[in-house]
């Protein structure tokens, strides 16, 4: 196996581990804000995973999915934070 194949495998393993660790934080919270930050980080990991996966599968189409995930993650975070800000006011 060549170096790039090794590094792709190791990267996939490490990103998977990070997703598990972040998921722990998503479950234990304690506040809603903590969970939002964890979700945001999960989508960031998804983008990195997509980039690595596109090398492993030797197709470039997946990077478009990465763009969409980045856009949606930002929108979701802003919507959650807006809702929290409203709740704090009332």
């Amino acid at each position: 196996m060549s170096f790039i194949e090794w590094s792709v495998y190791i990267s996939v393993i490490i990103i998977g581990l990070s997703i598990l660790v972040i998921f722990l934080r998503l479950v234990i919270g304690p506040s809603i804000e903590d969970r939002i930050v964890a979700l945001d980080l999960l989508s960031a990991n998804a983008i990195a995973f997509i980039a690595v996966y596109s090398i492993q599968k030797n197709t470039t189409t997946f990077l478009d999915v990465g763009i969409i995930v980045a856009l949606l993650a930002f929108l979701g975070t802003v919507a959650f934070a807006y809702y929290l800000g409203r709740r704090g006011k009332e």
């Binding site: 060549s2 804000e33 990077l63």
Partner: protein, 112 residues
């Protein structure tokens, strides 16, 4: 040669992603957690995407990767800022070892 360079970028990027994942679990309160994690979505992903575009050596891929990187650098601080603000006004507690809080004793306690 190109493949080795690309592999190094990938490994460095995933290392930063792993560090921020450990950071979000280990840090004591929301604000320190956010300080540790805003960077996975910038430096970590940036390095991984640079590795990807180095591997493909294609203009279309490079421009797409650059688009994601620029977008993340624009949005990550905005997202972190609004969550931090909402958390502070929503009374999410600071860590007990926090030394100073000059925001709490600001003169005009209006909170927009």
């Amino acid at each position: 040669m190109i493949e080795i360079l690309s592999g190094i970028f990938l490994l460095l990027g995933t290392l930063f992603i792993l560090l921020s994942a450990i950071g979000i679990l280990k840090m004591p309160d929301l604000y320190t957690r956010m300080s540790a994690t805003t960077k996975a979505s910038t430096l970590g992903i940036g390095l991984v995407l640079i590795g990807t575009s180095v591997y493909w050596q294609d203009f279309g891929i490079a421009s797409r990767a650059l688009a994601i990187i620029v977008f993340l650098f624009l949005t990550a601080p905005v997202a972190a800022h609004i969550i931090g603000r909402a958390a502070y006004f929503g009374k999410v507690p600071l860590w007990e070892k926090t030394k100073i809080d000059e925001f709490g004793k600001r003169p005009d306690d209006v909170g927009d």
